[in-house]
Amino acid sequence: MTTHELEVAVRQRNGVAVIDMTGDVNSSAEVALDTAYDEATANGTKDVALNFEDVDYINSTGIALIVGLLAKARKNDIGVRAFGLSEHYLGIFEITRLIDFMTITDDEDGAIGALERTSDA
């Protein structure tokens, strides 16, 4: 298996900026993730959803990048959701306690729904 540099795309859905990620979340993903976050939050969006459906590999540096993104979001009072994580990486998010600081759902509808419910609340 070769490494796949992360490609990102940002789209809006129901007021949520969805960051679609394809490839590996490792050290080489830093610029792509930063750029995507800036783009996602540029127009005042207060909610970001990270789409991990097409991510096969996350290493500790990738975890650190997600931590960095989450820290930035918290500072700016932006909510972060994540969906599409494999069972294994869901476990990693539990070990690292990332799961305690972001809403994790199985799929995009769940993430948006969770957001809607959060908004309704």
Partner: protein, 535 residues
């Protein structure tokens, strides 16, 4: 009384025609004898030869500046009758004074000339028979010497190669007619390691065979005592140098293989560079060192590598690369490397090289030099020899290049294909292996590409161990800071620092050791039991 003498000894050169003698003066000497004196040699440039063409020569009457003439006169020779066969002076009849003390008459001379004309062919036949006998004797001596050289060489080549589980070790040796001094050896060493040697003595025949046998014996003795191949060659060189005949030396490659791991160390005393075929292609196994016996006090560079399953090594002698085709083009090292590159998995490497070589040199060509090959091949799959009680499932090295941890993960996963590790535990181990490899590349090897990460996957019963070894300076590693996500989110702790934390959470046990020129992190996962909910 008249005495008649013929040359007592005849040398090859006597066969030369008189007019050719100036061309090969050393060889064109004709001896004459008298009963009382030693044979008289006539030098090829002696002017007397011009007179010894056909008829009898009156020596007393002849005035010449000729050493041979002076000798003949001093010996009391009166008449010299040339013995000529087919225009070639083959001897001279020297006659003293007649007993009657009368001069030789013209009738006497006629009689002597007739006699010489008839005697010369018979003498020539006698000479030819003797020459052929002498040549046959010389040929026989030469053949005997070859036979002795062959016997010595055959005696000191291994009769049987050691049987090493998980490895195919093969050797091939075919001497040239004039035995060339090649040798090889495969030496079982303590702890199950295997030493292997290919060498070549400069010279041929018996002298080369004797030096080869001495080299082989000394090397065997040193190999049992010393572990490092470079030291073995250093010792060998110092032992051989004082007694080495002038203009002789020995080239020699010596390597030591640990069959349980595929780890190979080698040093080279000026021998042809071996090749290794790995998944990445053909590589030369270079290590610097002077041939043995030239100078004392030499040191030998030592190199090491690890052979993965399917990797092959070929040691060879110059009889292959320096073989010529009918147009005198050399086989050459590039062609040998390409031949090795072309060999298919499962194909006999040595046989393949021989087939290509024979097609190159042509069907009837005589072999120019000894041909020697030793091949080592690590068997594919889980046929590797056990290391202690462990089965070695994989053993490989990776360059310290960012991203290579993915290759480590893939290779470990492939190695664990048949062990029955549950998917969740396998996924956890894969991530741990990736993190351990990254740590080894980054913190141990500082991302220096020439410092590889060495990974072994072992299984003992229901326990799988993955050992990740780096080449970093062995220092007491600081206890990694336990990552605190709240602190990281608050910016009081750096976002990074998850690697070791993850590894410890994802496997059953971890062990860090700092020895053998670097750190080894061992990850332990049990097939059964333990909790599956690490993650």
């Amino acid at each position: 009384m008249t005495t008649m003498t013929t040359p007592r000894k005849r040398r090859f050169l006597g066969r030369k025609r008189a007019e050719d003698r100036a061309v090969e003066p050393e060889q064109a000497r004709v001896e004459t004898t008298t009963p009382e004196t030693a044979p008289v040699d006539i030098a090829p440039n002696d002017p007397l030869l011009a007179y010894l063409q056909d008829d009898a020569v009156d020596i007393e009457a002849l005035e010449l500046d000729s050493p041979a003439l002076r000798e003949l006169k001093a010996a009391g020779v009166k008449l010299a009758v040339p013995l000529v066969s087919q225009g070639e002076l083959i001897g001279v009849l020297n006659l003293g004074p007649r007993l009657s003390e009368q001069e030789y008459s013209s009738d006497d001379r006629k009689l002597l000339d007739d006699l010489a004309a008839q005697a010369a062919p018979a003498l020539r036949i006698g000479q030819l028979v003797r020459e052929q006998e002498a040549e046959a004797a010389m040929r026989q001596r030469f053949e005997q010497e070859l036979e002795v050289a062959h016997l010595i060489q055959q005696h000191f080549l291994p009769k049987k190669l050691p049987d090493v589980p998980g490895w195919q070790i093969a050797a091939y040796y075919r001497p040239a007619r004039e035995v060339g001094g090649d040798f090889y050896d495969v030496i079982p060493l303590p702890d199950g390691r295997i030493g292997f040697v290919v060498g070549d003595v400069t010279d041929k025949g018996v002298p080369a065979a004797l030096i080869m046998s001495a080299t082989r014996s000394l090397l065997r003795a040193s190999a049992q005592r010393l572990i490092e191949p470079g030291l073995v060659l250093e010792r060998l060189n110092d032992q051989m140098h004082p007694d080495m005949p002038e203009k002789m030396f020995v080239t020699c490659l010596y390597g030591v293989l640990d069959p349980s791991t595929g780890h190979l160390r080698f040093a080279n005393a000026g021998h042809d560079v071996p090749y290794v075929k790995t998944a990445n292609g053909i590589e030369e196994m270079r290590a610097r060192g002077m041939p043995l016996g030239l100078m004392s006090g030499m040191t030998y560079e030592e190199k090491e590598m690890t052979l993965a399953p399917g990797d092959r090594v070929l040691l060879h002698s110059d009889g292959i690369a320096e073989a010529h085709d009918p147009d005198r083009e050399m086989f050459g090292f590039p062609r040998l490397a390409q031949t090795m590159a072309d060999v298919k998995p499962g194909q006999d490497l040595i046989q393949h090289v021989l087939t290509v070589l024979e097609a190159f040199i042509g069907p009837d060509a005589e072999q120019e030099d000894d041909i020697t090959m030793v091949s080592l091949e690590r068997a594919l799959g889980g046929e590797s020899a056990p290391a202690g009680d462990d089965d070695v499932l994989a053993d490989f090295e990776l360059e310290s290049v960012a991203g290579n941890e993915r290759m480590a993960i893939d290779q470990v996963e492939a190695a664990l294909g048949g062990v029955g590790l549950k998917q969740t535990r396998l996924d956890n181990l894969k991530t741990a292996v990736g993190e351990a490899t990254m740590n080894a590349m980054e913190h141990g090897n500082k991302y220096q590409a020439d410092k590889p990460v060495h990974i072994r996957v072992l299984r003992d019963g229901d326990t799988v161990r993955v050992r990740v070894h780096d080449h970093g300076d062995v220092v007491e590693l600081p206890e990694p800071e336990t990552p605190d996500l709240e602190a990281k989110l608050a910016g009081t702790q750096k976002p990074r620092g998850w690697g070791m934390f993850l590894i410890e959470k994802l496997v059953d046990e971890t062990h860090v050791t700092g020895e053998g020129g670097g750190h080894t992190l061992e990850l332990v996962v049990r097939l059964e039991g333990g909790s599956d909910d690490h993650a």
